[in-house]
Amino acid sequence: MSISLEKGQRISLEKNGSGLDRVCVGVNWGAIEKKGFFGKKKVAVDLDASIGLYSEDKTLADIVYFGQLKSKDGSVVHSGDDRTGDLDGDDGLDNEIVSIELGKVPAKVKSIAIVLNSYQGQDFASIPFASVRLYEGTPSRVDNIIADYNIAHEDKFNGSVSMVLGVLYRHNTAWKFRAVGEPTDDKKLESLFKTVAAKFL
């Protein structure tokens, strides 16, 4: 069973005493439906899941986003940019998936932040459905959902176009995940990564 995460909750990424090799973060969302003169119209929602890899001193060691789909070391891979979201209702499949091979992440990287922003600036509260899940498996095969949360329809997201989903971090020799789920005031990815370093690591 997966846990529906609350803000601030921490979970250990261990299974039967050894760390997981790989986790994926999938984001599933839908296009906005607008009522107009000629009936309903779908408006594309371009959400972007991105990853920041931070070293001990909180400097950004590498990033993975739609413009760079793989980290330099190859440990983090993004599935590609979805610019609309589901047009015909929730298909239950992730629109963007980031996979992280934990064992391959370079030793100097101490934490990995998973962030989401709305490229066209539509605020999260206007999106009909949007959810994030952290799971064990590969982009094409979900073995076990570790955690998930809904991000649409929450008042706290009103007016915000950027958020921090969670942080994977090293704790001694193992990896842990901390659910964040906090909106930030940032408009662009670059400043979002700075906010993460300042407030969320």
């Binding site: 972007d48 413009g67 789909l69 599935s79 590609g80 940019d81 610019r83 609309t84 490229y119």
Partner: protein
């Protein structure tokens, strides 16, 4: 330590704390590594810890090999794409040797040539776990029918190994396999490009620098313009990693190519067919040849619900881009519309089909520029 001459059926134990190098001297034959895992699954070597391939050698770093791997089988097979007028039997002087990588000490030699009896594909050796140690067994048994038969003995189906081979970059041509594959198929969606570089006339300087033994490593590339149901457009092209596309994410099409063989493939994720609208498949000729004729180009379409099609360019023109076909996904039934058109450049083809990609060099359509 004396060097053991391994014969078929013989096995030896090797110390498990070291790194070994298995070097193959198999002239024109090709080879590969099949991985058997504890859970019973079998696959071609991908990027497994502890095992790597360098030129004609396999490096085995035994302490690093994950416990999930039970056995590695190294096979060798005749390269059927190079058959033809031969003056020398390619199987003479074939051998393999296993040595300790660090102190270069040889453990074993295998004389392959004198132990072959007409097979064209054989399992050469197995490296496997037995009670916490690693052992090596010389097998040298195989098939006269060729590599596909050998792979089938491991439980690969023609579909699964065509895909596996393409993505693992393994070193054999799957021409035969694709051709065997008949009509209706089973959910696998791919477009495969194969060709021979036999009779084309080399036009590049490479001809003078590399000598007559060299075969151009890869002179054709495959790609497509795509348009998703949501209107998103772009290009996938096997020329640069960042244009490889994505199987599990947008645009649900990924290109892969074999490193040492004339084999390239676009794989379409059938699960996301409903998100695709159309795609325009093309093949481009890189340097080294000046006519489509001599290359024996064949582009094989294997798409769910459509009978398999094989398209080849029929033109004497030397324009370097061959527009192969338009695939339409937007109806219930997928449609393949053959084109057989040639273009001087991708921008010209884009214009001809009003695809509307932006061209500054080769680039993704409407790249977002965010950071």
């Amino acid at each position: 330590m004396a060097v053991t001459q391994l014969v078929a059926g013989q096995n030896i134990t090797i110390p498990s704390d070291r790194t070994y190098c298995l070097s193959l001297h198999i002239t024109e034959w090709q080879w590969g590594v099949i991985v058997s895992r504890q859970d019973g699954s079998v696959g071609l070597l991908r990027s497994d810890e502890g095992v790597s391939i360098k030129d004609d050698s396999v490096l085995l770093n035994l302490p690093d090999i994950p416990e999930s791997i039970e056995k590695l089988t190294i096979y060798i097979a005749a390269d059927t794409s190079r058959a033809g007028n031969r003056t020398i039997d390619p199987t003479i002087n074939m051998s393999a040797s296993l040595s300790d990588l660090v102190d270069d000490e040889k453990y074993a030699n295998i004389d392959i040539s004198h132990q072959l009896t007409g097979q064209t594909a054989v399992n050469l050796i197995e490296v496997y776990r037995r009670n916490d140690t690693w052992k090596v067994r010389c097998i040298l048994q195989g098939y006269k029918e060729g590599l596909f038969k050998l792979l089938e003995s491991f439980g690969f189906t023609s579909d699964s190994y065509a895909t596996a081979v393409a993505s693992a970059g393994a070193t054999f041509s799957t021409t035969e396999v694709v051709q065997q594959d008949g009509n209706q198929n089973c959910g696998d969606a791919s477009i495969t490009l194969v060709w021979k570089s036999g009779h084309g006339i080399l036009r590049s300087a490479a001809r003078y620098c590399l000598g007559k033994k060299s075969i151009p490593e890869s002179d054709l590339r495959i790609g497509c313009f795509y348009e998703l149901e949501n209107g998103q457009r772009g290009i996938i092209y096997s020329i640069e990693e960042y244009l490889d596309g994505s199987f599990d994410g947008v645009p649900y099409i990924k290109v892969s190519r074999a490193k040492n063989k004339h084999f390239e493939q676009l794989s379409i994720n059938p699960r996301f067919r409903y998100k695709l609208n159309r795609c325009l498949v093309f093949v481009t000729m890189m340097d080294a040849h000046n006519s489509w004729e001599g290359l024996n180009v064949s582009v094989n379409f294997q798409l769910p619900d459509v009978s398999a099609q094989k398209l080849s360019p029929t033109t004497l023109m030397v324009k370097p881009i061959y527009g192969v076909a338009m695939i339409k996904f937007n109806n219930e039934k997928t449609e393949i519309m053959p084109l057989n058109e040639n273009f001087q450049g991708l921008a010209e083809m884009d214009l001809a089909f009003s695809w509307g990609l932006l061209w500054h060099g080769i680039n993704n359509s409407d790249n977002k520029d965010q950071t």
